[in-house]
Point group: C3
């Protein structure tokens, strides 16, 4: 008589009953949004009309939930500021801690709420470091090759054919931290991005994989010789004000440097600058490379609008710097007021 | 004075006292079974006589334990049905959850109970997916390269020289799910199997490593050009009824397709079809690729018996499909009655 | 109204508030110790004077803490025995279990206590196995490539510029256990060591990375053809008495074998033998390869002193074999008394 077995036999559900994952139920959506796809160096809707994304990052949904700020009200406010896209920076630490199934519920809500406002969603795997050696800038960005592949497999499966989910930003900010996090190698990084894109495309061809370069998603020069060898993708850049370092800080000099390092790519590919923004030197959370006196705002917008570059400001949150709001009454900061006005111009 | 240390000093055992692993104690066995080894394309016993395995899968031992069905009675019934081999499908999720040391106790029991009935054991690392990129079909199959190597290192050490444990099935069903789980590459997969075989052989040369091909262990064609470069191994196939898709469903057409994709290998290597079976379209757990009206049974058996292919039906369990029993009174299902008769013919 | 969010909003700190790691505060140190650096095949201080390390291993700090033996008293006793260096064997299992932040506090204490006695510290990642395939000799040595890189990134950051921390021993004892833990490949191992050295040097150039060869850190012959391609490093050897197996056990024959396998390297590189020691066949914890009648002691010391090889005896602990003390009153064992005398000669 196996006593252990007897007592365990009362458990009538086991790991073998764990269901297969399910897909997002699009019948929950209010609006039919066009798919956004790549055509040459443009993003276009289903009628072939150019789409320029102008929008904002919100904080990690798990943070917003913990703070009592996760609600449709937030998405309505984002829309009221003029955004047509919302970026969700999903940190590995919160993905792991919240649990995949529960986290999907948050993303589902974001999609439903964004769709109701006719806004698109960018899903961003928000890690910083050099993934091929699995070294990261901080424990909240800690992940693995395996987890990253699995994340995109699971996301691509769940949101297959959901037009509101327009962009998959494969890895937020690749950097080897000047060697402290390994030695970044473009061909290795390019190959890994291609592997992720293939996994996504095996599930869903109507989505835009978004690829970042080194130096915290600033430097796209390696694609001049070795572009990512897949169709239908876009590139990102995070052109914070202190990334370019002209000897004389004129608009012309910034434009020259921006063009050299990432802007050039807009001639051949759609570019979505998924993080940008600034704060004054004495402002909340001021840190390199985001410090600026405000002259940056009009310059970077002129640069991007001239080149049909989409942009997503960082960040519609009162805690994470550079902030766009100073409180949960959505009071705009200096950059918040600026980007709000720029978005509203295009409504 | 270090207060923390003082209070911790009461713990007089620590991680440094954790013992080295121990080996299975063969004195617990009732019968001396011949080692089964590879000779050309045959399995043979110690006198050189051909051995054909005909037997059944039971469920994961952890499942059986939790359900109160883990007992010698089960093994006696399996023997009564005519089996000479039992396959243990060890799911990564149950290996992890049960814990290595406790799981070894289950395997030990299986060996003792099987040996008492003069049956052999196949240990199967029951994962599904493409291991080199660590993507899997379901979370219950989730494992890593490291865990898989460690599993075989630990298993090979524990059961060194135990003849009852005849076969190590390295990885149940390799598949990239049509690209959704990466891109399967035969040379990469072959090399990894060779690495596992080397680890096993460094412990134990008198055991048969069993290698699977892609398409959920169906397709062995790559071994025509690139066989696994190790001696003493066998190949497996899981030829469920809907894997071959002849335009006209005649026995002859099935035989042609089976020969093309996996049966050909029986000319050069021992083959052990470690999963096969069917269920009617309206039967319990009917799903692709196991649905059949019953015509499959006699055909696949004729095909295998003609070629001296060993076979292990899926599965002597009332829950997992295709079932061979409909309840824990061991009432045979349609396929259960069929395979029972086929096994008993050879008793 | 999101009730879950409401109740979670009371949590006003989250993962996003987790601070960045901080560096060791050197103002806690009593003495200014010279940096020790590599010059040709010598270790030298800042004035270029040769340094020979002669010292001892203590147990894993986590073990000592749990036993109530973690205190400055221990370091004073080590100094009283004549040591100028202390090696900290940090086992992966204790690093994982204790937690990084808490473990840093232990290392900080070790540095402060060693510095007060004008002794240097060797930080040793105390694993045994073949890391490129992540197979290990025992679960207490279980780690990963990722964890090992992260360990050295974190250690190198925290102790940047701390001269007391003189040596980083990258991986205690590499071995494939004769194939049971994979197949060791020198070029693969060399490349991984170079990768770790680059990560360390990106943080701190004034530290000595210490590299081990296969056969449990005994065999340095591969560096004759393929030395580790980095400057400023040293090699280690763990020449326990039964590693060399001369047919006639004469001093001359041991010297020949030692020179062939590892001693030769002292002509070109600094060597630090970070483990050595013996116990009688009937002594506590006697096991291959540490058994010896005591003749080994004077021989290995003569061999090393002739060649300016630094050495660190294993181990100033009453439990771990070969022991140097038989109790926590620090009563010397046979080898303890011998090495104590050898160290005190040079005080
Ligand atoms: Mg979509
Ligand atoms: Mg950022
Ligand atoms: Mg065996
Ligand atoms: Mg199956
Ligand atoms: Mg130092």
């Amino acid at each position: 008589q196996n006593v252990a077995a007897e007592s365990m036999s009362k458990i009538n559900k086991g790991w073998w009953d764990s269901p297969y994952p399910s897909q997002f139920d699009s019948s929950q959506l209010t609006n039919k949004l066009d798919f956004v796809l790549v055509q040459g160096n443009k993003l276009v809707d289903e009628s072939g009309k150019q789409v320029i994304f102008r929008g904002m990052n919100i904080a990690d949904p798990d943070k917003l939930l913990r703070e009592g700020q996760w609600s449709e009200k937030l998405f309505k406010e984002v829309k009221a500021w003029g955004a047509n896209v919302v970026r969700l920076p999903i940190h590995p630490v919160s993905w792991q801690g919240h649990g995949k199934d529960a986290y999907f519920k948050l993303i589902d809500q974001a999609i439903i709420w964004a769709n109701a406002q006719q806004m698109y969603i960018i899903i961003d795997w928000h890690s910083i470091g050099y993934l091929p050696v699995e070294l990261f800038q901080h424990s909240m960005y800690d992940t693995t090759m395996k987890e990253t592949r699995t994340f995109w497999k699971d996301i691509a499966f769940r949101y297959t054919g959901v037009s509101t989910v327009a962009v998959y930003e494969l890895f937020n900010e690749p950097t080897d931290q000047g060697g402290r996090a390994g030695k970044a190698n473009w061909l290795e990084w390019k190959a890994f991005n291609e592997e992720l894109i293939d996994i996504i495309y095996a599930h869903d061809k109507k989505v835009i994989p978004l690829v970042a370069g080194f130096n915290w998603a600033y430097d796209l020069r390696p694609i001049q010789q070795n572009p990512v060898d897949r169709q239908g993708i876009a590139y990102t850049a995070h052109p914070y004000p202190q990334k370019a370092k002209p000897s004389v800080k004129s608009k012309e000099n910034y434009f020259i440097l921006w063009d050299q390092v990432w802007g050039f790519a807009a001639k051949d590919y759609p570019i979505i600058a998924t993080e940008l923004g600034w704060v004054n030197a004495d402002g909340k959370g001021a840190h390199i490379p985001v410090i600026n006196d405000g002259s940056y705002g009009p310059q970077i917008i002129e640069f991007m609008e001239d080149r049909n570059i989409s942009w997503v400001a960082w960040i519609f949150d009162p805690d994470w710097s550079p902030t766009m709001i100073s409180d949960w009454d959505y009071t705009p900061t200096q950059q918040g007021a600026f980007f709000k006005n720029e978005m509203q111009k295009h409504q």
